[in-house]
Amino acid sequence: MYPIVLLSFFGIVTLFLGFSKSKNILLPATLLFLIIALAGNFLEWNKGPLLYFYDMLRVDNVTLAFNGIILLSAFMIFAISGGFQDNPDSEPAEYFGLMLFSLVGALMMVGFQHLIMLFIGVEILSVAMYVLTGSNKRNLRSNEAALKYFLMGAFATGFMLFGITLLYGATGSFKLEQIQGFASNMQVGSESYILYAGLLLLLIGMLFKVSAAPFHFWTPDVYEGAPTIFTTFMSTVVKTAGFAALFRLLSGSFTGVYGFWWIVIAAIAVLTLLVGNIGATSQNSFKRMLAYSGISHAGYLLIALTALSKPSQNAIIFYSLAYSLSTICAFGVLMLVSKEKTIGGQPNEYYDAFNGLAKQNPLLAFVLTVSMLSLAGIPLTAGFWGKFFIFTSAAERGIIWITVIAVLMSTVGIYYYFRVIISSYLKEGDLVKIRVAPFYKVILVLATFLTILFGLAPGIFEGLI
């Protein structure tokens, strides 16, 4: 609960810090705010389930773990943004303020205990993201992406709100445990159909936000059009929060009707895996490939939802952490490399921008390689154990066929993740030595180190949650 209050306050402070003459104060101040929020988050560790805001928000160790991942990824992204110093048109104070506000929304989504809280959280997060997507005002692609994201997002929100309405109509409550009580003892009748319809509509809204197929159409365009730093934010923070919310929703309210929805989620997971992985193979742009890879990772996380058990909950936490770390690395290196050459005034985000990266920039090539290996799920990286935990949790539940499809699809993933490794090590290119700010380097090395550390010792946090 502390980070929500703190970040709301800090967001306003950040906006007004933008008026100060020195532009260099913003980034350190924001990073300090995030550290304070992170510390405030873990003040409640092991205090047991606590309820806040008239029982609308629940804080337990699972919530705190998700909050920790979200705030840590946000910290890394803020740090590699470099305070937006290189662009004279930018409004760093507004970007940081909006990102802090969107974090408030993400934390609400993680800890909600009341559907209205979920809705408010989703909206706070989404509205800030629509604005940030279009923050590059002079760039047509960015404007187009923002408009697409906004229109489709607003539409999905409509579905979600209608779903919540129907759930309220069926159960007479917005509270998760009361819906749970109703759904567990429900007789088949008109009310059960309203509940099913409401659940499906709510799921559509949430699955849109985590870009699961067939609600993924906005993802490649929006990820490509948005400034890379906000794409990173979108693909880590939003995805983690979305899956935390989905897990809480399904495990908190709908275990009683598991037989109804698990096949829906399973079908969507398979579709998402197919669309994400096969779509990614045909991309020429690295950034667009990462968008499709984001879709496919949503598919893996959906498998963990179909299992819906204690191990699968831990698997989601671990996977989100592993995915966030490697995604930040991948986008971080992309931001550096793409600035070197431009095509028609745009940064070069194609695969060939990485040609010959390893010769002059061995560190960047190594960071990129580790993150690609982790995303592909190669052993000794965190990504491998993330996939491993998810597959075992699904297998324990007895859902073998979906695991088989997922393993097949992750071998497809190796093809497109290795393309960029081949580009950077084997192909000839004329990339010169890229100057990397020390802080940027620290963040990249830290994320890589954590990826390898969790790959070697995945049990490091076991038993904590």
Partner: protein
């Protein structure tokens, strides 16, 4: 026994019926000899020209934005006022309730005011003005020559 929603439904139905009946009665009673002038959109007004979908002045956007801001604020104030003045709750809490509700609303309005102040300070509320084009005249006759002419002959 009908519920409150039932009454609303009754109102809707009776509204529709009343409208229909009145139009029908008027149809039978009125004289009916139209001409082109009478059938135009604004009778005895100007003839509409062109399309209604024109570019609106950007100024309306700011007006609308400020309107929405204060409208939402007011919408929240109404339900708050009811709870704020709830005598039962005030009596139960020895008056602490009123202060609590007051503080909550102060925080809410305070945040909105901060937002408004931010937009104001950033200049987002400034009226968008078209840039005046000052005509420049390049005359071969220097300006002070006119003055000299006026000084010499103007007084007479």
């Amino acid at each position: 026994m009908i519920s409150d929603f039932g009454y609303i439904l009754l109102f809707i139905i009776s509204g529709l019926v009343l409208l229909g009946v009145m139009l029908l009665v008027a149809k039978f009673l009125r004289p009916d000899n139209p001409n082109e002038e009478k059938l135009s959109t604004y009778e005895s007004g100007e003839d509409p020209m062109g399309n209604a979908q024109i570019q609106f002045n950007i100024r309306f956007y700011i007006v609308a934005l400020i309107f929405v801001l204060f409208e939402v604020e007011l919408l929240f104030l109404f339900p708050w006022a009811v709870v704020f003045g709830n005598e039962e709750l005030i009596a139960q809490t020895n008056g602490a309730w009123g202060w609590f509700a007051m503080a909550e609303m102060t925080v809410f309005i305070g945040i909105l005011i901060l937002g408004l102040a931010y937009a104001w300070a950033k200049g987002y509320l400034d009226w968008v003005r078209p840039k005046q084009q000052i005509p420049e005249i390049k005359s071969p006759v220097p300006a002070d020559m006119y003055k000299q002419v006026n000084d010499r002959y103007g007084s007479k």
